[in-house]
Structures are given as C-alpha cells and as structure tokens.
Symmetry: C2
Subunit: 211 residues, 2 copies
C-alpha cells in the first residue's frame, strides 16, 4: 500500500470555505483536492492500494487531518467540485471534535466521516504516528532523481508532497528526523498533483517490471 | 513550441453547461478543463511555449475548437472552476459564429475571445490544418513507451490526447493518415491530465539534457 501525505500549510481545516471560490476562501485547499484525484484515481477506477492524508494547516481548527482510504472509498468522482463537496461535508461534522475530545474513537484518532474517509484533530506528528514503520520520501526540488532511487516503489512507500508553498522548514526538519529521503522529479517545478502523477507513473512502471 | 490537442468526444461546444455540474451537463468537459491546467501551468507560472487545443465534439454547435496560447494567456488560474468560467465565457460569444459565417476573421479561423484564447468552428481537420508541419504523436495504451521514443521532445511536437473515452476510431484513423505515431506512457491507464503531466516530465527532462 502506497501512501501520500499532502501538506496544506494554509488549507482550511474547517468546512467554512466556499465551493464557488475554494482557492480564495479555503487557503488554496483546491491544490489538495486535485491531489486526491491524482493520488487515488486512474482511468475509470479507484486505486485500492492507496491511502491519502490531507494535512489541513489553516484556520482556527487547524491542524486537522483527513485520511482517504482507496480500499473503502466509494463514489469518488474526479472533478474538483465533487471532491470539494466531499471534503466540506467531512469537515463540518462537529461531532468529530467531540469524539476527539473524549479521547478519540475506537481504532485510533481517525473518526469515520464518510465511507473510506476519516478525520482527526492533529497534524504531522499524528500522521507520522499513524504511518508506523514505512519508507518515507519527501519531494524536494533539486534532490536526487526518483528514477535513480533504486529502493523506490516498495509496498510501504510514503510520499510527502507540499502544496503551492512547498514543504515548510519545520516540516522538512521533522521529516528528516523521521528518516525521510528527499527525491526530485525533474528539472521543472510542477504542481503538486502533477508531481503525484509523475510519482505514480514511476511506481507503476516498477510494479509492472516486478510482475 | 509544444502543442497538445485534447479530443473531447462529447464535451460541450456551447456555453450552456452548468459550472456547478460540469461533468453532468458539459459532456465531461471537466476532463478538458483539467488538461488545460496540466498542459499550460507549472508551479507559479504559465508555460509560454505551449499551445493547447480543446476539440469540443458534443452538443448542437459541435464541432468547435478552443485554442489557448501560453505566450499570450493572462491570469490563467489552476482551479477547475476558474478555467470553466473562462471556457464558458469564450463559448457564449455568439459573434464568433457570425464571424465564421462571414469566412472567418483575419489571420485564420480562430477568432480571439479572450487574451490568448481563440475559438473556431470546426474540429479535427481544422486543427490539423492549423498545426501545419509538425511531429504528431497520439497517446495509445500499449503503444511503444515514450521513454524509448528517441525523437520525442522536438520543438514542434504535437500530442493528441483522448478524454475519458479515449480517442475514437475515426480520429485514430485520421491521425494515422496524418503520420501520427502512437506512444504509450506506462502500464496503468491514467486520466488525461495525468498523462499530460507524465508527457511534460519526459519532455522537460530532454530539454534539460540538451541544455
């Protein structure tokens, strides 16, 4: 199972953004919505072997984390508005706050809010704890090329991806301390969702080679 | 200058789709909107050396073609709704129909409707004529891998990309007759916008190698 963590430095942790203006009212949550599509969907299907974390670092309720599980997700549509509606509905479930205040639901800090979607109060440290033992990579411009990273493509790979602001220094430091390896994707700095497409392409190729 | 042609078999050629439900009312025009972003934008910038054609094959006014020029585009935002608003405004300009009925505007069949955006009545044959001499590629599952395609990455490369339905047989036949080479991207069939991200990554790498 491959996992992606999208770090939204300012992305709205509450559901108070406007669907008609997600970039302006959601702290560029739109970037993260597009990353959900790129990480979880392929042509006419959902990747079942993927988990996506959206770290929502903006607004009064931050940090909160949404977790999408491909194995359990249903009706995940590719268009940005549909994913925005899903996220908005998940975030306005105030009972999650209450459940977490009571010490979290059974089975960990993530409370189910939709099929295959869980919500937790917390950010990077919560995510790192949830990941457990895994091979961590963080996307970083100028880092060694993913095509040369011979270990890449293992079953427990985790990829940390920054939003339009990239990964902030504190996150980088925490990830380095957790053993994350920086990898680069190529000579041009691309949008986060395009980075995920390029990552998947490399991983899919290696999976196919292994048979 | 690289060019991308996105073939929307059912995508709405009129502006009558709803921004709140582009997939359902626009003949999956949403796929094409996302392709505009993937083809034209990188992190914090517009690729100036790109032209994107959207072939709109659905609805009573079809076929029509929108052409986006990176060199002249302004304020192209990455979120799907913003690109949808731009396309909707461009398509409702009825004067284009009238100009075309008079024999087209000066400078070819594309009438300017926004900075860097032109609209024409016509589909594949119009696009092929507009492309002139160029190296044509069409994305095709199972075709030879783009990484092995030594000629790929030339300055006049054109990439034909299908929508969620792929490229239809008639389009494939026309492209083959025009000399288009089929290329594959990898073992998994991905969304059109992800295919464009993978294509750009390969082309960017080759550009960087050539220096």
């Amino acid at each position: 199972m491959r996992r992606f963590v999208i770090v939204g430095q300012k992305a709205s942790a509450s559901g108070e953004f406007l669907l008609d203006d997600v970039p302006g009212t959601g702290g560029r949550l739109d970037v993260l919505l597009r990353c959900v599509r790129a990480a979880m969907l392929y042509s006419h299907g959902i990747r079942r072997d993927v988990v996506v974390y959206l770290l929502l670092g903006g607004g009064p309720k931050a940090p909160r984390t949404l977790r999408f599980e491909g194995a359990a997700a249903t009706f995940l549509r590719p268009d940005e508005r549909s994913i925005g509606i899903l996220v908005k509905k998940a975030l306005v479930l105030e009972r999650v706050h209450h459940a977490a205040a009571r010490g979290g639901a059974v089975g960990g800090p993530f409370v189910p809010v939709r099929p295959g979607v869980g919500l937790a109060n917390g950010g990077l440290s919560l995510i790192l704890a949830d990941l457990g033992g895994a091979h961590l990579y963080m996307l970083d411009e100028g880092a060694p090329d993913l095509r040369s990273e011979t270990a890449l493509g293992g079953a427990d790979d985790v990829f940390f991806v920054g939003d339009h602001l990239g990964l902030d220094e504190a996150t980088r430091a925490s990830l380095s301390a957790a053993g994350a390896r920086p990898i680069g994707l190529g000579p041009v700095s691309v949008h986060a969702e395009d980075a995920i497409a390029v990552l998947w392409n490399e991983v899919d190729r290696r999976d196919a080679t292994r048979g």
